[in-house]
Symmetry: C2
Subunit: 351 residues, 2 copies
């Protein structure tokens, strides 16, 4: 009472050949498609293939040089909305270009990252995409540079997607978005509403994404001849909980401010809840803005004014430029623009 697949297990090309009464090369040719094979033979082979439910071992094909190419991406945490969108872009584009997609999350552990990249070199991945911000320390550059060289020497390619670029000369493709410019525009918008004391809920001080946004915050002030009170710059990380805690502390501390700019929408969400808990109305008493334009920003109450970042596009571009390059093409460095999305959480300063 066996199914048509006998008891199969995995069958090899030689099993198929034997059953069809031909040689393994012929089977390979039939399956390959283009080589001339008589239709009688083709039929016998195809029949044997179906009988045995045979599929060629992709790993063996890869060794022989005709495998499905593979691409890997590494991120800290797939549950972060912006990371998830980048991942989505990467995966879509990889699929469109016929690549398989390996994924690894590091949960912030750099050793995982290094180990995984080494593993990808062994897998002969076409490219490895590092997704998401990072601290820009000498140690980071050193380590990342090493990974880049290592991949390059194996014919692969390292891509930094939303990550600090290395110095010149590193064999790396960099796709970034404009943190400073976006934050500048956003904060300028807030200041234009008459606010003077704008609380900034930033990320980790050495994190480049956080730094860029903070620079934009400062630059927007200075462009109006203002020098922001250092006490208004608070640092945490990019989580909802950090936003909540930072906001609560600022309120308890009696800090004076009429607007809050959070480094991410997640942080803004936590901050918003803390403001509500303190009985403050947004934007009546305090204006609030975020950064990232995650889908949920619209459903916060009030709808969050924020900066739109083309995360998915970022991921798509990362794989397109990485896979599209030839050995001679120069190292690319793309910088994507962002724009402010005005919703309801920022209001003119009430007299």
């Amino acid at each position: 009472m066996t199914r048509k697949s006998e008891d199969a297990g995995r069958s090899t090309i030689r099993d198929v050949a034997a059953r069809a009464g031909v040689s393994a090369s012929t089977v390979s040719r039939v399956l390959g498609g283009v080589y001339p094979v008589s239709s009688a033979t083709r039929t016998r082979v195809m029949r044997a293939v179906r009988d045995l439910d045979y599929v060629a071992d992709a790993r063996a094909k890869a060794v022989a040089g005709v495998g499905t190419p593979t691409l890997a991406f590494v991120l800290e945490d797939i549950t972060g909305p912006s990371f998830a969108h980048m991942a989505h872009g990467v995966e879509r584009e990889a699929r469109r270009l016929g690549h398989l997609c390996l994924v690894c999350t590091t949960e912030g552990d750099v050793q995982h990252e290094v180990d995984f990249v080494e593993m990808m070199r062994a897998q002969r991945a076409a490219a490895v995409i590092l997704v998401g911000g990072s601290a820009d320390t000498p140690e980071y550059r050193e380590r990342t540079r090493r990974m880049a060289d290592s991949l390059a020497s194996a014919g692969s390619r390292l891509v930094l997607c939303g990550r600090p670029p290395l110095g010149p000369g590193a064999p790396v493709t960099v796709i970034e978005y404009d943190n400073e410019g976006g934050a500048y525009a956003l904060v300028a918008h807030v200041l234009a509403q008459g606010h003077q004391r704008v609380l900034f809920l930033g990320g980790k001080p050495d994190h480049t994404t956080a730094q860029g946004r903070e620079r934009g915050y400062l630059a927007a002030h200075r462009a109006r001849g203002l020098e922001p009170d250092p006490a208004l710059l608070r640092h945490g990380d990019f989580t909802r909980d950090a936003g909540h805690r930072l906001m609560r502390e600022a309120i308890e501390k009696g800090l004076e401010f009429t607007a809050v700019v959070a480094a991410t929408d997640m942080v803004a969400a936590g901050a918003l809840t803390a403001l509500h808990e303190a009985g403050l109305d947004v934007p009546g008493d305090v204006s609030l803005a975020g950064y990232d334009d995650i889908p949920f920003a619209r459903d916060l109450h009030p709808a969050l004014t924020t900066v739109h970042v083309p995360y998915e596009e970022l991921g798509r571009l990362a794989v397109r430029t990485a896979l599209g390059r030839t050995p001679e093409s120069p190292d690319e460095h793309l910088l994507l623009g962002t724009h402010v999305v005005v919703r309801d959480s920022v209001a003119p300063l009430s007299a």
Copy 2:
């Protein structure tokens, strides 16, 4: 002016052997670790390995039977918060168990799914995990059953994670969570507050996750001797936009209700915004509840009462049970429990 890695490119084990003046077998043994090798030889080999910056080709190792095992997961859209959490659980557990993780998103296209599974069979993946709900049609069962058989015959395993189970006898591991039970408890909670007309914003009618939640909604009513007005059951999909649209339509239509239960938190978020836009207070005028307990549920205003689903645990369990099984072990079917998280969006019916 070359780096220590010569100009390398990819070097083979034979290159290393030649440089160290030994045979390829010896290099393999040195790298393998356990076989007795004199320390002089070991040193020479290691030096050659470093000089050439050699890494064994993982695909070739796989063909020889000593590769890193691989596991694949398929989901509709990685940007959905609950999918992302399942993915996170899968990835974490896979990494813990030393597996590589391939990922594919289908964007609802079943052909992608079928093709990808076939590809995974060719890759000799240890297991393929299908993540997220689906329509439970005869066509679905037929197709999924075929994938299960195909994988099983290749020594792999299909895992349904939050997906409708097939009939008995299919070589499948199923990990589900209790949609009906969770919805029952949630709706019972709402009814206990005195509400009588509870609007249900459901998903696609043939989608099993949506069906389960709807059954829970109905069962909770009947347990109190109520028969819900069919006009209160609205169907869309699991997106924020669907929730927004459905809610607006219900309001415009003049439907009477004092509470809303949404099939997911995303839907609830859209509905909440629509309620606000209509000038209704939640929970003053209307109570609202969601399902999934995504992180953002806390930051909606009011904080959303919802049902917690252990998505990450679900993903972890999926890989653990799939990889932990022996050929003789029975097909497992796990059903995880859920629980209501009471926050601020449901209030007693005001007289």
